[in-house]
Symmetry: D3
Subunit: 255 residues, 6 copies
């Protein structure tokens, strides 16, 4: 049994509260166990300079933690005057994976700004951010369709993320909390679509290595977790979820 | 009647949720109308270099907004790489006023870090931050007394803050929301103790000026609001509030 | 008697030397006791981006100290690579209060840059900066009228600033020098117009608080000092002062 | 046939010139096709603050490109005053993977600084950096053993990296050059040891996704490339390579 | 005749006002024509880390201009957050040349901080800064001798600086003002001691070159100017000047 | 005999490898003894804002060292987030001297970016950079003439740089290596054209001074070295060198 009583392939309790904030076009508060992230999606009516005139849209993400999201207070990056390498890696990851399930041509020359602000951290903040950000983005784009600013929802599939790892005591485990993450020899973040295709695999041995067989087992457990997360996203999105399912099946037909 | 149906000397609905976060020694979520701020207090066992060896403690504050706390997305200060003048002013204000109701000698060589993170903004974020930060700080210090790390609560009085302003249409109004703040000719932030003494008065004509009589009226309305806020702080603090009341009366006797 | 032999409500000797520098449109060297500030006003023929097209002008200020303006050498902010919170607060204050006595509509789409460079500091640098900057600005605008770049002087009233404080030994005192400022429990900066209206009140208890009665007494003493400062501004401005007096009385009539 | 005449699972010509620089403890110039990287390893006799007193060593890496390493001149990060997210990601990656094949306990409280300076870029700069940095590090550690500063070589296995990708025209290809990289839908960097274990897998769909079957095929092709790279590392390292082989087999026995 | 009526080898009027500021150990206001610089010398009782324990002192300089020292307002380097290349060059030059006439061994482990703040600029600010800084430094060191903090004045010779240039119309000219400097093809700054030895020669063709013969003529004219400047330094220093003269002759004897 | 066996007026072995890099318009690897610098020239089809519309071109330079170019690893300026004063001085010098031998009018509104990246340092990196950068620039401009983007080579003369110094043991020496540079009392960098005219003289006493006679001797030795360097530049440039010789003689005729 794991430190919090879960079985090896069990997610922590996950809640997604849609429309958590008043101002953004789309927003959620996602909690994955004690990890809590406010995800907001803002639509801007232009694209960055390097994309202008191409007719395509863009998605970019920012990620931050409040200082006492963690056990020890961490220094604000705004006070230090620069972003850490870790923050930059996470920001780039979130933006990149969301772009894989949006038809940027259909979005047109708009930028979707994703803000993920971690208010409480207990491991898995980047995967919770991706899972929540997808919902916030879908809400924002859904509102644009509603307001006739877009003819149709340009989302081609669901997208969720989770972590898997290898631990000396338990072997392969799903959705590591902070304590588990600190002890794991191998740590892998997996981002998958609703059709079970990979968008991103980042597996890392922490002063350790892993074998081909272990890799296959890690992927199997991750897939189970991702499907459960996507089921929760569907609940949170209601009728918007149906539209995404339909987009996906149309996409498969045209392939 | 004001834009949200309030009378001129009426506060917006105020809620203080104590112990909002898992990790910090003290924390609250304060909402004043649609303005919502997470306030956290962290105790560090040392003081900044310029105070070492003096036997006194220190209180310092940081303030930030998440990008979509506001109607228009604002750029993260961590991304810009520096704090705005406005942020610095607010941070200095929060730290300074809290120091006026803590006996820093009794605190000893410790630093209280206050973090105020605005997750939704509708005017009055700095005064809500002060009112919430006081409670978070009291909770953190209360826990230290409980854990025998301090012999007694070093808080000498309650402390709360609100805004008052002068508006062409309504005259003097209490607790301005964002729309009211944008239109006001005169804007004043008042920080007071539970004994009705001033800690800070910051009154500003926005391309305008104000008379002595107007000043007196502004102060009267502010005082009413502050007392109501302190009543809510007492509720949130429970038995800790009684200890503060007792400290205050002892302080008055020794004067 | 105070440390420098003054009575409680006595200003330090104040001198304003107009046209101190060769290049700027308007400049003064103001000395208030041992505090000496070079104030320069520059007129730029455009406004910041957020104001373009609105037909209104803008006033912005920068403040700095040379390293040995003070007893201990302080590190240059240019070397540190960023402005301190204190500097930012003062810069924002100077710009804001000057805007309250200029008709920005009549100024048109121009920016007035105010530079206050403290070459010697002995307390009250921000209030000396405001008092001097007003004169530098009036000289610069007067020159524009002379050169037919403005039809009339867009200044609606005089503006000066001083400090008042409460000291254990002397009670309420006017125009604090550095030693007095270090000891005062309460420190208040007051900015007023020539008509006796307030533009800014910033009163702060330094690990202390103050009562309503004390506040009223502080304001009375401050007002006396401000009127004396404005008399000196009038001398320095000569015939320009008459024009401001006339603007003010016309402004009052139209109200 | 690929743009440069290679078959799908063929590496570009790879050359490793050991001891390329005069000053560093270990250095190489590695070229992988037209990609050329100077890798240097420096040994410092202390560890970063967060590791002091633990008896373990540390490995950290820095990565940069000269401005005309690329077709278009890119702006120097030193001139911009900050590192890009891409640079930070690569630096973290290089340090992390090298730490997986060094026994940090045996290294003792020393830091190995790895510098990878790309002087010419044609795709695969991060994988070439890792492959070259391993050799530079081994040379530096070998010299320490020679100079009796270390009792034995603390390297537990070989380490090399390459890229694989999926291209519409060719399917799965090995060791992508810049043109191929720009067109690939899926891009994966693989870091493996001499024993065929994974240290890092980073697979990314670029506005695209990939299936489980594709993933398995990508890994097979990558493994072939890695073994060829390790053969070249052995040549460059001469007798040091034998020591690593021996360390590895001893490590396997003790497991 | 030159633009301001001078002959080719004539300095502008030079005034040195010693002890211009209240706080620094040594200070002057130097004016060279319309160029005015406040020079201050501060003594700190330690040396930078790289010099500790060596028993020698250090001299370092900082240089800045107030924004309206110039015809066009220039942006504050503190606001830009970094020093320009020009500022850094000048700072390094001032520190370096002063070190050539101070016996750093006799100074002991102290740092002399030189601050040169240009309040009005009309060409030659760096040479005026050097000439003024020498006097400020001598005053500060003289005060240390007076206060028994140093056994003797550790200054080995006088030091002054001026500029020479080549102008299409006038040929070789001394002490260029701003207009002359803008037009000159060749610009040279010369720093010399009271014994006529060179400390620094910086000659630059501005999109132009100069011959060996021109160089010799430039040096002759510069030497004349330097001797006149040193005569003025002697006046400003009074009896301290005699001590320097004596140190110099003793230094020559021991050679 | 000097530390490396040279006579006092002997250069170290110098090699210039043209077209060292694949991507830049012009590039060389220059080695002067153990000092090795990659110089690249890039042509951009616009000028900086302050020069637009003037019809003239611009030349700007950047200089950097890789961390282990030196005996001790030096911290990357990109990691520190700012350029040192030394780097800025060198960058400004390189750009300035190259501008003296290019007819910027004939270049037209283009910018030549010079990048000098030191990969190994043993004294004289700035003079090696200038000597190498001249060749890289000539190659780049030659290619533009070849591609009909320029009607003729806008270079008016050769340009090379070397150092001379005064050493207690050897007297005046040419082309100082790192050890010699550390010990020299006087250090001078000389930049000259192929016609023997000076472009820049920077002579500095390091806590020392030098006489007029010493200066003349230094210049004589420097001139000898420069002519040898220019002979090597001619070899590296082949037929382009003839064009420069012709431009120079035409330039002399029109004078």
């Amino acid at each position: 049994m794991r430190v919090d009583g879960r079985t090896n392939d069990e997610l922590r309790p996950v809640h997604i509260e849609p429309n958590y904030l008043k101002h953004p076009e789309g927003s959620v508060l996602i909690s994955v166990g004690d990890t809590k992230v406010i995800c907001a999606a803002s639509i801007e009516d232009k694209v960055p300079p390097f994309m202008r005139g191409g007719g395509k849209g863009w998605i970019t993400a920012e990620y931050a933690m409040i200082p006492r999201a963690t056990e020890q207070r961490n220094i604000r990056e705004a006070s230090k005057g620069k972003l850490s390498g870790r923050t930059m890696e996470i920001q780039r990851l979130i933006g990149r994976v969301l772009r894989s399930v949006v038809d940027l041509q259909k979005l047109g020359e708009k930028t979707i700004w994703i803000d993920c602000d971690v208010i409480q951290a207990d491991g898995g903040t980047r995967t919770a951010s991706i899972t929540g950000a997808f919902v916030a983005m879908a809400l924002a784009l859904g509102k644009m369709v509603e307001n006739k600013k877009l003819p149709m929802l340009p989302i081609t599939d669901f997208l969720a993320a989770t972590s898997v790892g290898i631990d000396e005591e338990h072997g392969i485990i799903l959705d590591l909390n902070y304590i588990e993450d600190s002890k794991a020899h191998v740590d892998m973040n997996i981002v998958m679509t609703g059709s079970g295709r990979f968008v991103e695999i980042q597996g890392t041995g922490e002063e350790a290595t892993f074998s081909y067989e272990q890799l296959l087992d890690l992927l199997t457990v991750a897939e189970k977790g991702i499907y459960e997360l996507i089921a929760l996203q569907k609940e949170a999105l209601g009728s918007l979820a149906e539209q995404i399912v339909q987009n996906r099946s149309e996409g498969e037909e045209t392939k």
